[in-house]
């Protein structure tokens, strides 16, 4: 993909460039991630939003180097602090995992090993990357549990995961992820399996610790409320591609891509002016085996007639800047996109900025 062999000096701490992941399966080639591009600095949070199956989790796992190179085909670049994760040996990758970058998962119930004590699982994470005494590792584990708000950690460290509630397990997962102070934290739907009141606690905790450690956070979610609450930047994924990205205000107040518009219009919101009918996107999300040609969104897009010829169905649009830092993947002209946005957001009862 890159013709330039000596990479230009990197600007952001994490830069994902044209990342693609394909799984050959019996049903055909699954294009789970297709040319995903975004960048993020330390202390910043980027949210990746999209429907289920749009490739969010696979993107996250590819960044962590967790996609098995034997069963999948990974191309593109993931620059972490100037080093490209793609193409690293298993051992190089392993040394970065848990130390430079860490991850928490959607389901706290199944993410901890049921047979080992909480303490053992935490100290293990310390010991892989540090030569420390047993006592030091244990102290570190207790300190971390304390930090994530587990009461009397010196006792709870002896417990097994099943003795913890879902919210507490997610706290333990956060403690485990941050125990070696990584500079990148990937959170894959960290609160989807939790109740809203617990979700609020966990999001608060993640943001608090992010401040303390100055971590870059990749937050994967399908909940636009969480995005609004926590993110600095947003990448909207649809059909394995990033279709729009930018700072949070770009996405919420000046979106231009029809899918983003549809998404915003279809979420029921508590602060909506009128509890009127929602305006759903027609149709269903595409299958990753048969991604539509041209623009992946074209079978559901209501604006295809605003594009010359049959371009939407034939030509794949590129992810291009529409304003500084704001990228959009759509064939419509900027004027058309803005006109369309005004209509769509007007129906929502909100003005664009």
């Amino acid at each position: 993909m890159m013709t330039d062999l000596t990479p230009a000096p990197r600007r952001a701490y994490i830069e994902v460039e044209e990342l693609s992941v394909q799984f050959p399966t019996e049903d055909g080639l699954v294009r789970a991630v297709d040319g995903v591009t975004f960048a993020i600095d330390k202390g910043q949070t980027i949210a990746i939003v999209g429907e289920s199956g749009s490739g969010k989790s696979v993107t996250a796992q590819a960044i962590m180097g967790l996609v098995n190179s034997r069963t999948a085909d990974v191309t593109g670049h993931v620059w972490v602090d100037g080093q490209d994760i793609v193409g690293m040996t298993d051992d190089e990758l392993r040394k970065m995992r848990g130390r430079t970058m860490a991850m928490i998962f959607q389901d706290p119930m199944s993410s901890l090993h049921p047979f080992y004590r909480i303490g053992a699982q935490l100290t293990e994470a310390v010991n892989v990357h540090n030569k420390v005494s047993k006592k030091e590792a244990r102290d570190r584990a207790i300190e971390m549990l304390h930090k994530v708000g587990i009461p009397s950690p010196e006792k709870r460290i002896e417990d097994y995961p099943h003795q913890f509630s879902g919210g507490m397990r997610q706290r333990v997962m956060i403690a485990m992820a941050l125990i070696n102070s990584p500079s990148l934290l990937i959170a894959d739907e960290p609160t989807t399996a939790l109740d809203v009141t617990v979700q609020a606690q966990i999001m608060e905790l993640i943001l608090e610790l992010q401040q303390e450690y100055n971590t870059a956070v990749v937050l994967i979610t399908h909940d636009l409320g969480i995005v609004a609450d926590a993110a600095d930047q947003v990448a909207v994924m649809y059909g394995a591609r990033v279709v729009e990205s930018g700072v949070i205000d770009d996405i919420f107040y000046a979106p231009e891509m029809p899918y983003t518009l549809g998404l915003l219009a279809s979420v029921p919101r508590l602060n909506q002016v009128r509890a009127e009918r929602l305006d759903p996107i027609p149709g269903n999300p595409p299958s990753p085996i048969r991604l539509p040609s041209g623009c992946v969104f074209n079978p559901r897009c209501v604006y295809t007639d605003r594009v010359e010829g049959n371009l939407c169905a034939t030509e794949r649009p590129a992810l291009l800047p529409t304003a500084p830092g704001h990228m959009v993947r759509c064939h419509m002209s900027k004027a058309e996109r803005e006109a369309v946005a005004t209509i769509a957001l007007g129906a929502l009862g909100r003005e664009t900025t």
């Binding site: 392993r94 090993h113 049921p114 994470a125 892989v128």
Partner: protein
Amino acid sequence: MSAYVVRRVISMILLLLLLTFVVFILFSLLPTDPARLTCGKSCTPEIIEANRHRLGLDLPVFQQYWEYLKGIFVGRTFAKDSPDPVVCSAPCLGYSFKRGEEVFVLIKEGFPATFWLALGAFVMWLAAGISVGIYAALRRGKWQDKTVMGISLAGYSLPSFFLGLMAIFFIVIRLQLLPYPSYVSPFENPTQFLQTMILPWIVLAILYAAFYMRLTRNQMLEVLGEDYIRTARAKGLPERIVIRKHALRAGLTPIVTAAGLDLAGLLGGAIITESIFSLPGIGSLAVNSVNDADLPLIVGITLVTATFIIVANLIVDLLYAVIDPRVRLT
């Protein structure tokens, strides 16, 4: 925990009692007349009636059962009022008039051969089944995996009498690599013991190993897809530790359970293998007892085999609680 064990032991005893009852009633309902079986072709009704009385078969079924049960704990004497009463001492599982021996003694005599056969095969099949199963799981979908699964299917579908007969024919008779099997105690003549046992071990182990390969492979694949394995990898653990420490422990737990029950089943006698290799074990005894229609012996063997399985069940359950902290024994 201890309260749990006590409760389990009590319910186990009740279960065994129930079992003796069912077995006993079942056999007493058989159309064959056990008294008729006690004497040969030239039998007069008088002799049959006399034998019926000697064996206590003229008593009502429930009383017979009671006598039988009592016999297990305090022993019993058949034909008390005749000149030559037959004494069957404490764990009396009945008396085989065909063989002129207490059933318990017969089973005790057969036990060592069965025990060594089962143990040896058990070790072999676990070692082979688990290691090959893990290997296949780690090479999922590759040619190694496919080969292993093919071999497993073949091994699984080969009947043990075929394997056993082939082994004897080629290795013992044709190539004369081993002497003809003749069982001795390992403490008496270890060399002959090994020479005798090696083929039955392998034959029996192949059958089970084929099954355990599949089981292990599927278990490992399931566990390797678990979220906590992903967590272990995300920590940066080397792959071999992920496999050894995180995947194996969870993946092998159900295998331990299955293996325990299979071992217990084998301790009740491997009928085909013992017969082919002429091992004087419980399996051979069972075959002979059926051939001779030796009812007391059949009942005795059935009970002993069932007891092994019930006890193994308890042990496996306790073991499970030790391995898996989520299992709470209440």
